[in-house]
């Protein structure tokens, strides 16, 4: 069982519930990145195993492998002691493994019944036996204590109810192992309790669960076993009775990587960005404010870290400043002037730059070269008499490549040939090329390796020294304690606390709602 020497095993990890699934030495590489470096993982019958780990630790990758979404580069999976391979999700499903993704995979236009039987309709004499399907659905829903009519369109249900429908669907195919990826992130407190009740029911019926959550305390309430991943390796495992919050946090975060320190030795300039009572509503649910009367001020040369869990409003806050999405209330001032009514384009010209969270979706143009991507927001700079000058463009692109230390053979190569970290540097370079006064970075370190992370932070620190105001968001606690002069914690759209660079990790996490007390 203990194959890796550095794995901490809390005492008494062996448990009476037998092992139903065992994954051994699972390695997964994407191109040159090793997302999983030989992970061992066990699921116990009728018990809940929780995977802990920060973003990028490899939790989702591991779950994708267990559910057949992806295949491991190497390693074995054994189900009830028999070696198995899951080539597809259907394969995994046939073995009784179902996964419930963070983003639900229900068809909102179809009814609860049709969703549950989607793709395996009960037929009788050539037609679908809706009556039988409805009967079975009603029975399932009753089991789940969900009081809705089977013919209700799923789109009309609340997210929490949809989640339960998804669980019902998994159970209707006799899932023995149910993987839940962040099932509570979209749920209200009451719905979480219902979910936990269902989880208890399921385990008592012998269903094994794998639970992934960022809400550590919440996860501790339901779990029987904990497995901690860090950086693609398993760092610790233990049974519930032998572990506590501190244990999890310690193994999740590990030793501090050196992500830099706040640049010192200069005074901040004047206030560049002032956010006053900003409110942004959830476009899908006008009742909910994703940013709730938030006020924040940033000065020249200052680096502010916005820390918060998923759904805390980090992205919405930064996008509102950059000019995407509608503002429901409050105002944003840049260098004393209001940004009300200014387009994204005008804001860029004024000096506001955003490095979006999802660089594939919002940051890069995949059909363009590295150079064209770098210069996309500053075409003006290489116009000569109204026409683009190839020479001027090349010069600009080449200097940007050097500035942000992109590892690319030249500006002409395709953007797709770069690694994640270098792609991120290209997006940052593109924003820097517009000579911004304030730079907003939404999870700038997402999906890039630790070395590139440090380089990105180093770059930002250097720019801040030159007077750039930097606001970056993160959901990884250790990144708060890198270059930021100030840590602002978001919780449900509001600033729940502010800290200096020498605050305690536990306090920051507590303010985010990740840990209720510590």
């Amino acid at each position: 069982m203990n194959t890796a020497a550095d794995v901490t095993t809390a005492e008494g990890a062996g448990s009476e519930g037998g092992v139903v699934l065992q994954a051994r030495d699972i390695v997964k590489t994407y191109g040159g990145t090793r997302a999983l470096k030989g992970v061992n993982f066990e699921i116990h019958r009728g018990e809940v195993t929780t995977l802990f780990g920060e973003n990028g630790a490899g939790k989702s990758t591991l779950m994708k492998i267990l559910s057949g979404v992806e295949q491991p580069t190497s390693g074995q999976i054994a189900l009830d002691g028999e070696p198995v391979t899951f080539a597809t999700t259907t394969d995994a499903r046939d073995h009784g493994i179902a996964i419930i993704h963070q983003e639900l995979s229900l068809a909102p236009n179809l009814s609860v019944r049709d969703n549950i039987f989607l793709g395996r309709e009960i037929t009788r004499s050539g037609g679908v036996d809706f009556a039988e399907e409805s009967r079975q659905t009603a029975a399932l829903l009753e089991d789940m204590r969900l009081d809705v009519d089977p013919s209700t369109p799923v789109g009309d249900l609340r997210v929490g109810q949809q989640q339960i429908v998804e669980i019902a669907r998994a159970l209707s195919i006799d899932a023995r192992i149910l993987i839940m990826d962040e099932p509570t992130s979209a749920l209200a407190a009451r719905e979480v309790e219902i979910l936990f009740g269902i989880i208890e029911d399921l385990t008592s019926r012998g269903v094994s669960l794998v639970y992934i959550s960022h809400h550590l305390e919440e996860a501790l309430q339901v779990t029987d076993h904990a497995v901690v991943l860090r950086d693609g390796s398993m760092t610790a495992r233990g049974a519930r009775e032998d572990i506590d919050l501190e244990w999890i946090v310690r193994h999740m975060v590990g030793e501090n990587f050196d992500l830099g320190s706040p640049p010192q030795g200069y005074a901040f300039g004047q206030s560049v960005l002032q956010i006053q009572d900003l409110t942004v509503r959830d476009p899908e649910n006008a009742e909910r404010a994703v940013v709730d009367q938030l006020s924040l001020e940033v000065r020249e040369g200052e680096i502010v870290c916005v820390y918060g869990l998923m759904g805390a409003g980090r992205t919405e806050l930064l996008e509102a400043v950059a000019g995407r999405g509608e503002i429901a209330g409050g105002r944003i001032l840049y260098q004393g002037g209001t940004l009300d009514g200014e387009s994204i384009r005008e804001r860029i010209a004024m000096g506001i730059g955003l490095v979006p969270e999802d660089r594939q979706r919002d940051g890069l143009v995949p059909t363009m070269s590295v150079g064209q991507n770098l210069t996309l927001a500053s075409i003006k700079q290489f116009l000569r008499r109204g026409f683009t000058s190839r020479r001027a463009e090349n010069a600009l692109a080449t200097s940007l490549i050097t500035d942000v230390t992109v590892k690319a053979p030249g500006p002409g190569v395709g953007i797709g040939s770069l690694s994640g970290g270098n792609q991120q540097k290209v997006v940052i370079g593109k924003v820097l090329a517009t000579r911004p006064g304030v730079m907003l970075l939404d999870e700038p370190s997402r999906g890039i390796d630790i070395g590139a992370k440090a380089e990105v932070f180093g770059l930002l620190a250097q720019r801040a020294r030159e007077g750039l105001a930097v606001v970056y968001s993160t959901s990884e606690i250790e990144e708060c304690f890198s270059i930021a002069h100030r840590i602002v914690v978001l919780h449900r759209g509001r600033i729940s606390a502010e800290f200096g660079p020498d605050a305690a990790k536990a306090d920051v996490m507590a303010a985010s709602g990740e840990v209720v007390t510590s």
């Binding site: 990028g56 630790a57 993704h101 969270e357 995949p366 064209q372 996309l376 797709g416 040939s417 997402r446």
Partner: protein, 386 residues
């Protein structure tokens, strides 16, 4: 994530890469060689010029279409706009009876041409606004325009062709056929107009801010918007330009025939799209060139005319053109959209927590083909395009 495509492509692949990239040119060369062998009349200056003036009509439509396709859209209304503007020009040249004053107004030829072209642009504007402002799918918006405009052309003429557009000396509106018949330095005016427009568009695409915005919008609209590209107005403008190109093509066609048929240009939108595709543009947007599109239009035009010249039935022409389109698209896939073993770049980031969890298996591939693959073929497949 390291890319397989750029990283391990050894030198020996350069030949196949070259073949794929210059496929439209090779196809045209092949067509010229084959037909020259089959018919002594094919490769004569005279025949080449005649064929070129046929091509000019399609090339103009294809060039406008190219801009739309570069943004990831499609313009199905070009054939109808061509027919409509031809009818408008014919209508104006035959005199506009103003019953209120008991007179008939005869606009001069430049005025008639200008009005028709502006109208073409206006129809394009409607397309553009529908697509960019009201978020109507380009296919649907321009399909509607295809019907509406064709209907108006038929209504205006009662379905009859307007004949004799040569005008009257006394009314001062002669010279319309100049566009269709006149030659400058031996080259038909229509071909010259096509060449000038192609040149202008090539400069616009390659050397202007608008051109860069256009490629960016087609490559990734969201990212472009966040980079300050005025995506909406770019989109509107490409449809306007497509409408203008269609109108110019309509004028040239009416001038060549000295008549305006309300059914002129029927199904030309498909030929225009074919030209763009054969020219190597990606229908998903962001990739394509003026040069390629011109070659694509010439491939279709020369193929059709060549088949006529050697006496192959018109029905076979349809079959051949269809086959060429399919082969062209296959080669496009080789160049842009070859499925890679490595996962897409987004998935490569093991995105716990905040990441797009990528649905449940097959739903993953929602992005347009080729959008996430690096450019440049890596398939060692040295087949010449045929």
């Amino acid at each position: 994530m390291t890319s397989t495509a750029a990283g391990d492509a050894p030198r020996k692949l350069d030949l196949s890469k070259l073949l794929i990239e210059s496929r439209a040119f090779l196809a045209l060369a092949l067509i010229i060689v084959i037909f020259s062998l089959l018919s002594p009349n094919f490769l004569t200056i005279d025949n080449l010029l005649i064929m070129s003036s046929h091509v000019a009509i399609f090339a103009l439509l294809s060039l406008g279409q190219l801009l739309v396709v570069l943004t990831g859209g499609i313009d199905l209304s070009v054939g109808s706009i061509l027919g409509f503007t031809a009818v408008i020009a014919g209508f104006l040249l035959r005199g506009v009876p103003l019953s209120m004053f008991g007179v008939t107004l005869y606009p001069s030829v430049p005025a008639a041409v200008l009005i028709a072209v502006v109208l073409g642009g206006a129809l394009g504007l409607i397309n553009g606004v529908l697509v960019a402002r009201f978020k109507v799918a380009p296919f649907v918006a321009t399909l509607g325009m295809l019907y509406v405009v064709r209907g108006f052309a038929l209504l205006m003429t009662n379905g009859r062709t307007i004949n004799d557009l040569s005008g009257d000396e006394a009314l001062g509106n002669t010279g319309f056929e100049w566009l269709g018949f006149n030659r400058i330095l031996g080259i038909p005016a229509g071909v010259l107009i096509m060449a000038v427009i192609a040149l202008v568009l090539a400069v616009v695409l390659g050397r202007t801010t608008f051109g860069r915005w256009l490629y960016a919008t087609g490559g990734n609209e969201r990212a472009s918007q966040l980079s300050g590209v005025p995506v909406r107005s770019v989109t509107i403008w490409v449809y306007v330009i497509s409408g203008l190109c269609s109108a110019v093509a309509g004028i040239i066609l009416a001038s060549t025939l000295t008549s305006a048929s309300p059914t002129a240009g029927n199904t030309y939108e498909l030929t225009a799209i074919a030209g763009v595709v054969i020219g190597g543009a990606a229908l998903s947007g962001g990739r394509g060139t003026v040069r390629g599109t011109l070659l694509g239009a010439f491939v279709i035009g020369f193929l059709s005319d060549g088949l006529v010249l050697i006496g192959v039935s018109a029905y076979w022409q349809t079959v051949f053109v269809g086959a060429v389109i399919v082969v062209a698209v296959l080669l496009n896939t080789l160049q842009y959209g070859r499925p890679r073993k490595a996962p897409k770049a987004t998935a490569a980031a093991p995105a716990d927590g905040g990441g797009p969890a990528g649905g449940d298996g097959p739903a993953d591939g929602a992005e347009p083909a080729g959008a996430t693959t690096p450019p440049g073929p890596s398939a060692p497949d040295p087949r010449a395009p045929d």
